[in-house]
Symmetry: C2
Subunit: 325 residues, 2 copies
């Protein structure tokens, strides 16, 4: 990194781009790097490009300066352009042309699939988050509350507040350093991670009440009709977290949330607590995901969907029983 | 601590007691110390006394050996007795006589109110948890997965998984060391912290659906009737976490959950997100608690309770507005 920062001394204009549909780690890392560069080089131009910044992240420094489009008809040319948290170039979305136009490019990421598409690449698949990779690159003596807040936010969003298996001793040690800079961590966790609108809590309530257990208590299923979502004026995003609340039901191996999005069209989200591979089920319906979190679209009545999906889950459970016995 | 461990060399029988209604930090610290002592001194007798061990903590080492009563008519006499996580002697409950009978006593705690009632006292009010105090006292080279698991469990329960303001840089650093011993932290967080029974999720769903906003969206209120709880065969414990889910509603300063426990009798739980002092409201009804979490019992119809409590909340909000302006 020292080399980048040395070569940066000569860059007058620096651009930073994150991935489409930016999440906490993407926004956190982009704004952390922006803040750091502005602090270290007050006279340079530093621009951040993100599709949007969620309301709950607007308290972060420089969030109001984020560019959601490319100004003017001529694309700006940056001496240096950073792609952050983006597994491949496509993920940059509307800022990809700026990457191609730039004098020199840097790629900072933690996705194992990242092939290293820039002039300089810092890819650490063992890191919990891009914020973790970034923190190891930055000069520690420039840390302050604002910078630490951006980095901390990214780490908690990609680790589920130090819960997911990507959390390591090193992650926790870095977070320890960060909170020592008076990061308002209780507030950040509550307001960016757990906060729900009244409406989202209503929908969560509906989904919990509609839930039922199948496969001898090993699978919990819930569904929400289009008319319910329309009644609340809610979108898919308002269902975030619902399947995770179902997943933590005692005794459950798999949680399924079925969302009717149109006539005989259902979006199915699945979560697995242990060894059931829900992506194998999703793939049968043209969907995808990971072993523990996957999704697909299934056509038919709600009864068809429940029957078809749970049959596949039952097969997976039986396979596991055979393996375990 | 070295002195205790030196004096312990001569103790043949060691007792450990936690507080009544033991929580994660209490169970975690008692079983951590028990495990440590058994590992360090395999020939000594080490007994742990706890009122009960919750099902979700039964995976901890030695949990099945915990004594929930005192054996026989003659009280055993321990050479050394540890009181853990107990702010005062009364908190020990049924094991208090064992403390009085012991040759020497040790008090390890993090409650600021702890006056130091034992022969040897280790009280660190700045620590997040008794597990944190304990970890700083133990010899690190005896750490292994089982010991680390007990200590980690206590820390996450008292810090709300590193969220509450008692979490410090030191807490995070200790947790970093612990997870490096292959503590199954994802599983522990899910299964001891977030897990709910199907029934508890049903009740949560009911309470979310019944909730409504008052005081211009600054206060969310919900209630659950006795007949609903009876229908589900649920007890007060099944309402754990409900008021916290209400509290994270966007825009809300105060969350209130009203639980009808008998004819015209209501238990009121209140949580505050910022500066409203809910304990001031609880005290007016003979209840108590802290600034951000308090409770009381209020008599009258549900309408009386809602009206009376929210009037007090409104007063608190007005006071804050005056202070802030």
């Amino acid at each position: 990194m020292r080399t980048i920062f040395e070569s940066m001394e000569h860059a007058a204009a620096i651009g930073i781009g994150g991935h489409v549909r930016p999440d906490g780690d993407c926004v956190g890392s982009c704004l952390a790097l922006c803040y750091y560069l502005k602090k270290k080089y007050p006279n340079k131009k530093v621009d951040v490009y993100l599709e949007y910044v969620q309301d709950e992240f607007l308290f972060l420094p420089n969030s109001s300066l984020v560019k959601q489009t490319i100004d003017g008809s001529e694309k700006p040319v940056y001496d240096l352009f950073f792609a952050l948290d983006s597994g491949d170039l496509d993920r940059l979305g509307f800022s990809e042309p700026l990457f191609h136009n730039a004098g020199r490019t840097v790629n900072i990421d933690h996705h194992i699939t990242n092939q290293g598409f820039a002039d300089i690449n810092f890819i650490k698949p063992e890191a919990s988050s891009t914020c973790e990779v970034l923190m190891d690159l930055l000069e520690r003596d420039l840390l302050d509350t604002d910078l630490a807040t951006c980095l901390y936010l990214g780490m908690i969003h990609d680790t589920g507040v130090f819960k997911h298996s990507n959390t390591t001793r090193h992650t926790m040690e870095l977070a320890a350093v960060l909170i020592s800079y008076d990061v308002p961590f209780s507030k950040i966790i509550d307001e960016t991670f757990y906060q729900k609108t009244y409406l989202q809590n209503q929908i969560l309530g509906r989904c919990l009440l509609e839930s039922f257990m199948v496969l001898e208590g090993k699978c919990v299923v819930s569904y929400v009709k289009k008319e319910t979502m329309d009644f609340y004026g809610a979108g898919s995003k308002d269902l975030d977290g619902v399947v995770d609340q179902l997943r933590v039901t005692k005794g459950v191996e798999v949680a399924i949330l079925i969302h009717e999005t149109g006539p005989l069209v259902h979006k199915v989200s699945m979560r697995s607590n242990h060894d059931v591979d829900v992506s194998a089920v999703a793939k049968q319906y043209g969907g995808g995901g990971h072993v523990k979190a996957a999704g697909c679209t299934v056509y038919g009545t709600i009864y068809d969907v429940i029957n078809n999906i749970t049959v596949h889950i039952e097969e997976q459970l039986k396979k596991l029983d055979t393996l375990r016995s």
